[in-house]
């Protein structure tokens, strides 16, 4: 614990105050004394004390009344009431009012030590719990969601409005736009944030494995099922399940998934016991699910069950104004992780980034920045550190045939249309090269 435990002793008898003061000081606590409730309350208004050890019978305001006022000031303060006269009624009343414990004077030295030790453990656990909660919040803090563009602000506003509900969400967008981050943002801002966010990449698993992964399995359900295993639906109880690449699941899995979404119940593979789980489902896809429904490759009923809310994440080329911000964010992120000092980017390199159309979206930009920091001088990203020469924005994506045509023409021109030399360099025979020239209708004048 970062701070020393502080104890406030409240008793009208000086000898009791002195004895307790001495005892706790010797134990290394921070101790303060008050002779009555009034003094104690004014001390508590000025400073927070972890533990208040208060006599129940005092002139003026009694210990029970003072206890209520302490709780009104700070509900986390641990109050232990003490009395010279054991009375079950007062003890019950004190405990009903939320006192941590009740002791009769004089105490056995060991009882006093145990009492304070237990209260200290309680305080430590509470602090630890709060620290962990804030760490969870920090972990779930989706810092990578960077952007000030109108398109991104629209997405973030949708995230905010959908987070508090438990409705199913489909996140659509091209590969690399950050769909999983959006799912994390929804989870992190939802009341389910202290429960797990379980991600399943449906496209990465064959059907049989996906079934076992989602629903779990019983020992002996199939070869290799040596133990009972919880499925992802079960693990996400109370939290959120994120199904990435939902469009890739088979027709059979679509039926299974629909049933789970409708009932919230399922059985493990090889099991017969019905299991309930309270989860929210968020899906992501880069496919047009509506089109798939029309084509009959995705179930319509499942589509409508999943598509309660749709959030579309725009590709990076549609939010060009975010490129600078994102580049800066990734430079800071990787500089910190590589123990480098602040890294900047020169104007030419930034201009080139802003001109590029990023088919791989934010993921591509992130990788590009990381690579540039690794191969660059570590201080400033320059144009030469970016692998963008041939992919400036405005150039359309070329097919393999277009590239082949361009390459053959380049080589032919380089060697003055000497077919033998060009074929040798291209590592094809002359006949093949002639066929290609014919196919692409290449002529010396083309150049």
């Amino acid at each position: 614990m970062a701070n020393k435990i502080s104890i406030l002793i409240v008793d009208d008898e000086e000898s009791v105050r002195d004895s307790l003061y001495n005892w706790f000081i010797e134990d290394g606590y921070e101790v303060k004394c008050a002779a009555d409730a009034k003094e104690a309350l004014s001390l508590l208004e000025a400073k927070e004390y972890h533990i208040v050890l208060a006599d129940i019978k005092m002139p003026g305001m009694d210990g029970l009344e003072m206890h209520r006022r302490i709780k009104a000031l700070n509900k986390d303060t641990i109050v232990i009431v003490m009395t010279a006269f054991a009375s079950v009624d007062t003890a019950v009343q004190a405990l009903k009012d939320g006192a941590y414990d009740y002791v009769t004077k004089p105490f056995d030295p060991d009882d006093l030590s145990h009492l304070i030790r237990n209260a200290t453990s309680h305080i430590n656990l509470k602090e630890e719990n709060e620290n962990l909660k804030s760490k969870v919040e920090a972990l779930e803090n989706v810092e990578d969601l960077v952007g000030e563009s109108e398109a991104m602000m629209q997405v973030l506003s949708e995230v905010q409005s959908v987070a508090s509900s438990s409705s199913s969400v489909i996140i659509t967008g091209e590969s690399g736009t950050g769909k999983e981050l959006i799912a994390r943002a929804i989870h992190a801002n939802s009341p389910r944030k202290y429960f797990p966010l379980v991600s399943v990449h449906c496209g990465a698993l064959p059907e049989s494995l996906l079934e076992s992964e989602l629903f779990g399995h019983e020992k002996g359900a199939f070869t290799g099922a040596m133990f009972n295993r919880k499925g992802r639906f079960e693990m996400s109880d109370g939290g959120t399940i994120f199904l990435d690449e939902i469009a890739t699941i088979s027709a059979k899995m679509q039926v299974e998934l629909l049933r789970v979404l409708e009932t919230g119940k399922f059985t493990r593979v090889g099991g017969n016991k019905e299991i309930s789980s309270d989860f929210r489902v968020i899906c992501a896809t880069n496919k047009d699910l509506k089109m798939m429904v029309k084509e009959g490759t995705f179930r319509e009923d499942l589509y409508y069950r999943l598509n309660v809310v749709n959030i579309h994440v725009p590709p990076l080329r549609e939010r060009q104004e975010d490129i600078k911000l994102l580049a800066k964010y990734f430079m800071e992120k990787y500089a910190a992780s590589m123990n480098r000092k602040k890294i900047s980017i020169d104007d030419a390199a930034l201009k080139r980034l802003e001109e590029y159309d990023f088919p791989g979206n934010v993921r591509e930009l992130e990788n590009m920045i990381e690579r540039a920091i690794v191969i660059g001088n570590g201080k400033e990203i320059k144009l030469k550190d970016l692998p963008l020469e041939k992919n400036k924005k405005g150039t359309t994506i070329e097919s393999l045939n277009d590239n082949e045509k361009k390459h053959i023409r380049q080589i032919l021109e380089k060697y003055g249309w000497n077919i033998s030399r060009a074929a040798k360099v291209l590592k094809v025979d002359r006949a093949t090269l002639y066929n290609k020239i014919k196919k692409y209708d290449l002529k010396p004048s083309d150049g």
């Binding site: 008898e13 000898s15 009791v16 002195d18 004895s19 307790l20 001495n22 005892w23 000081i25 010797e26 134990d27 290394g28 004077k105 004089p106 105490f107 056995d108 030295p109 060991d110 006093l112 030590s113």
Partner: protein
């Protein structure tokens, strides 16, 4: 020794102790702390410190009595008793001290095996009493309870706890005593 602290310890006996026990305590302090130790025997009527209701002797009042008995004595004074001590809030104490203060007290009454229905063991009693006196002296020199299991400054609410620790200060407590100018660094 740094500072202007009066680094002497006075063991003031207020009970019928055999001289050998007090000498043993003095020797233990000299040996571990290198501090000069004086022994004084006082005959005081303790009955005025006896609480009829609790049938025990009031530790707080005994400490005040020692303060008035030794107004000019420099250094730390540890009053040695063989009566059952209490303070208002606790059912009993083995001893007590003002943290960083001049006075400490310790009693061997609750350290006796007979008190727990066990056969008397003089050697064990002497060992426990030495530890208790050094423990209270440690408080008087500003040390709080220590978590090192064997350190003499570990808190002990049962005699078994006293038996488990040693009569010496752990390295950390020694360092504090050195920093506070009570003892000098031990040669390695």
């Amino acid at each position: 020794m740094k500072g202007e602290k009066q680094n002497t310890v006075t063991l003031a006996s207020f009970g019928a102790f055999d001289r050998q026990t007090i000498e043993l305590i003095a020797e233990a302090i000299r040996e571990d702390l290198g501090m000069p130790v004086a022994i004084i025997e006082r005959r005081v009527d303790l009955s005025i410190y006896f609480d009829i209701g609790r049938r025990q002797y009031d530790g707080n009042r005994l400490m005040k009595m020692i303060e008035t008995q030794f107004p000019d004595t420099q250094g730390k004074i540890v009053g040695l008793f063989n009566v059952d001590l209490f303070i208002p809030i606790l059912t009993f104490i083995y001893g007590q001290a003002y943290l960083g203060g001049k006075i400490a007290i310790a009693s061997k009454f609750r350290l006796m095996n007979e008190h727990y229905g066990l056969p008397a063991n003089e050697e064990l009693l002497k060992d426990r009493f030495i530890k208790e006196v050094i423990h209270e002296l440690g408080h008087a020199m500003g040390l709080v309870h220590c978590h090192t299991p064997t350190c003499v400054m570990r808190s002990s609410t049962y005699v078994e706890d006293v038996d488990q620790k040693e009569r010496y200060f752990c390295q950390e407590c020694r360092s504090q005593l050195e920093n506070n100018g009570y003892i000098t660094k031990r040669a390695l």
